[in-house]
Amino acid sequence: MGKVLSWLTQKFGIKSEHQQYKQQVMSETAIVDFSAITHDWEKSKRLYDILKKKCHPDLYTGEQNEKATRLFQMLMEKKYNYTELLKIKELAVKELETTIP
C-alpha cells in the first residue's frame, strides 16, 4: 500500500520546489484585479489604434522624429495597459503638439 502511494505521489504529485513556487505565487495578493481586462480591453484597443497613427515616427522630422520614435517604442511595450496608454497620450499631446480625440 505504502509503495503504491509513494509511486502515485512520485508520478502525479507536485515536487517540493514546485510547492514552494506555488505558495510564493499564491501569497503575492489575495485577489487578482481583473478590471484591466474586463473593463479596459476595448478602451485600450481603441486608444492604441489612435495613438499608433498619431505617434508614427514617419509623420515627423528632426527632433520630433526622435520623440515620436521613443513614444512609439513605449506604445509597443504598453499596448495592453490602458493606464499606461493614457500617460502616453498625454506625452504625445505635449511633446508632439498633436491633437488626440
Binding site: G2, L5, S6, T9, F12, G13, I14, K15, E17, H18, Q19, Y21, K22, V25, M26, E28, T29, I31, V32, F34, S35, A36, I37, T38, H39, D40, W41, E42, K43, S44, K45, Y80, N81
Partner: protein
C-alpha cells in the same frame, strides 16, 4: 507517508476551490463592466479541457483550459481575439496564478465557440525551468 498524501488531498481541494473562486471573480468583474457600460462585450470565463500538448509540471490531468467566451452580438475578428488574449497574457501576476492553479491553456472564443485562439500559458511566465516536469 500518510501525512504527505493527506496534505496532497487537502491541497487538491484547496486548489479546486481557488480555481472556482478565480473564475467566479473574473465573471463578476466582467458582468459589472458590462452592466456599467464600460465594456461593449461581455466576457465569460469557464474551465475547458485544454490542450494536452501544452502540459507543464503544475497542469491538472484534465480540464486544464481557461476559456473566455466573448458575447458581442456579432462575429469577432481574429485581431480582437488576439488583443484580448494578449491583454490577459500581459498581466504576469494573473498568468502565474493560472499556471500554479493547474491551467495550461488560455482559450479565447467567440459567442458560438466554433473557432477561437489558444495560447500555451507556460510560455508567458519567467521561471521556465520549474515547469519542466
Amino acid at each position: 507517508m500518510f501525512a504527505n498524501t493527506w496534505n496532497k488531498i487537502i491541497s487538491w481541494f484547496r486548489d479546486r476551490s481557488e480555481r472556482n473562486r478565480l473564475v467566479r471573480s473574473f465573471n463578476e468583474s466582467a458582468r459589472e463592466a458590462f452592466v456599467l457600460g464600460e465594456a461593449p462585450a461581455m466576457l465569460e470565463a469557464s474551465i475547458s479541457r485544454g490542450d494536452p500538448a501544452y502540459k507543464h509540471a503544475f497542469s491538472r490531468w484534465m480540464y486544464s483550459g481557461f476559456r473566455i467566451k466573448i458575447f458581442t452580438g456579432r462575429l469577432l475578428t481574429k485581431d480582437e481575439m488576439i488583443f484580448i488574449g494578449n491583454t490577459i497574457l500581459s498581466n504576469e501576476q494573473l498568468v502565474r496564478r493560472l499556471v500554479v492553479l493547474g491551467w495550461d491553456t488560455l482559450e479565447i472564443h467567440g459567442e458560438n465557440a466554433t473557432y477561437g485562439c489558444k495560447w500555451k500559458l507556460a510560455d508567458h511566465i519567467e521561471p521556465i525551468n520549474l515547469l519542466n516536469s
